[in-house]
Symmetry: C2
Subunit: 340 residues, 2 copies
């Protein structure tokens, strides 16, 4: 596998595809390859694209990729589907929609679905983003389907996160907005030619105002700022980032230039002072903690006999022990084992 590393660094697409498969399935040797690639990472600008079903994420990713290609930048696309553990339906759909991009050697598209645990998918996406980064793509677009913690975890490694909305998606879409608004660097109201677009834009601005104390403060002092549509023309350094709301009709290519501009503005913002370093640090801490959690569990189960575990489960089922007490006992057991 280590021989593919050189290929990936030289831009060999076959080596790239093979290594991604190995990384996705956590094959032996994948960890070493990632270690070897790691010093070559940190150059790509990683853009996370997320939002509720029906917002047109795939079309938007498609349009964004084409816009970057026109500027001469190379694009790696990772479509991650945390909602689909056993069918490949959505992934297939994405691929079909992305046919405009295939055949272009400056674009590389990869799909990933849930295999085993969601934690495993977050780990695999992070590693895959890193491989695409080391392979030298200028932009890495990470698209996730779904609406919940899943994509929050997956887009967490992105440098700029786009949250996509669309008008008229039913009554409790509001609930979703609240959750993912927190992770948005740029908000996109796609399908903006549909009725209700104005009210979606207004709703998002209201929620931005409710959600972010700093924003609320600014808004009360400079009410007009929230009225600015699209991305600000020049980077404004207010000491914090106010997510712009961009309107688009991705299938018609409308609003894409504004979106590209908004992403660049966000990049410029992060590159000021040592913000990018700070954000990267947070990402690294989260990643180490996630990996540690899994590694610790794995280690404990290597030390624990199945019989001991089954006995505890029996006691819980017979209501002689509760799960909290059981965990306590397991921890003590491990301490004894390690100390031996």
């Amino acid at each position: 596998m280590i021989e593919w590393v050189q290929g990936v660094l030289e831009g060999n697409r076959r080596a790239l595809a093979r290594l991604l498969t190995a990384v996705e399935n956590d094959r032996p040797g994948a960890a070493e390859a990632l270690t070897a690639l790691y010093p070559h990472t940190g150059k790509a600008w990683v853009i996370g694209v997320t939002g509720a079903p029906g917002t047109g994420k795939s079309s938007l990713v498609n349009a964004l990729a084409q816009a970057y290609r026109k500027r001469g930048e190379t694009v790696g696309i990772l479509a991650v589907d945390p909602t689909s553990p056993f069918t490949g339906g959505a992934i297939l759909g994405d691929r079909i929609r992305m046919r405009d991009l295939s055949g272009d050697s400056g674009v590389f598209i990869r799909s990933m679905a849930t295999r085993g645990s969601l934690g495993g998918l977050a780990r695999a996406s992070r590693d895959a983003i890193r491989v695409l980064d080391a392979a030298g793509f200028d932009r890495v677009l990470v698209e996730t389907v779904g609406a919940g913690q899943s994509e929050v975890d997956i887009v967490r490694t992105a440098n700029t996160t786009l949250v996509i909305e669309a008008p008229g998606l039913g009554d409790d879409v509001q609930a979703i907005k609240a959750g993912i608004l927190e992770i948005a660097d740029v908000l996109v109201v796609n399908k903006a030619d549909r009725p209700g677009a104005d009210s979606t834009v207004r709703g998002l601005r209201m929620m931005l105002e409710l959600g972010h104390p700093t924003t609320r403060q600014i808004v009360s002092h400079h009410g007009q700022m929230m009225e600015t549509e699209g991305a600000p023309a020049a980077p404004m350094d207010l000491g914090f980032w106010l997510p712009p709301v961009v309107r688009s009709v991705a299938t018609e290519g409308q609003g894409i230039d504004e979106l590209v501009q908004a992403i660049d503005t966000h990049r410029d913002y992060l590159r000021q002072a040592d913000r990018l370093q700070q954000v990267e640090r947070q990402h690294i801490e989260l990643e180490v903690v996630d990996r540690l959690r899994e590694a610790l569990l794995e280690r404990l189960f290597r030390q624990l006999s199945r019989a001991d575990f089954d006995q505890l489960v029996n006691q819980i089922q017979e209501r002689r022990l509760d799960p909290h007490q059981a965990v306590h006992q397991l921890l003590e057991l491990q301490t004894l084992n390690v100390a031996k």
Copy 2:
């Protein structure tokens, strides 16, 4: 807190509300109270209700609760919102929609939103379900908003899981169906008076067929079975459970009797042989593993100095160490510490 335990067992609503708050926030003493209540659990039938946004889950929970009340059964409702870490919007909405039920002493409604990690929410929901169970409610309805791994984790403790769909929810709703179909014991097509209901029902049946090898087999042998609408009139023991597809218009009370029947049929099915014990065992194993994962991490961070951790993060950021290697080092460090 332990004094509330007696109150909860005696049906005191104030004690119940207080204990739930303590459990939700993991206050000191909550673990002891849960241990004391644990022997009194395992009597309620826990029904998980989940599905994509806009399917009318809250109305359905409302209608189900009213149906159970008419049969003289008591109902605890837990509305969990994994998508809303900082606003209470959806929860408020649920409460308003549930006003038909308030004032009835045989119903207890509780909302819960994300606080901190999603893992924390899954833990808190599990504990809250257990408290409602010990409090003697015949049925515990657990409703979750969202669409992804989040609610899979939350409804995992349910005895019967309902997955709600509705006609005409946009193009990539398909993706969501695939993911949550796996956890469905009963499928509900709500808002079945809307155009497209027939095609939603057909789509679900097709996906059931695609997803479950056993079903596929049965379908090819007894094609007519998949044509049965609603729940079968009598429990059929085929050796596996074929999720029925029930149509409803919850706001009009249509299809609710059929749904109640389908849930009872599923309960009868699980009560045959030792299926219920087996399912419970799986739930317990998952719970122990989840709790263990968090407890192990907590213990490691108690043993690790902030300076050591920061140093590792620095090395990763400077690309001198990759996250995989870092985790390795941390594990070794702990082994040394414990062995000391």
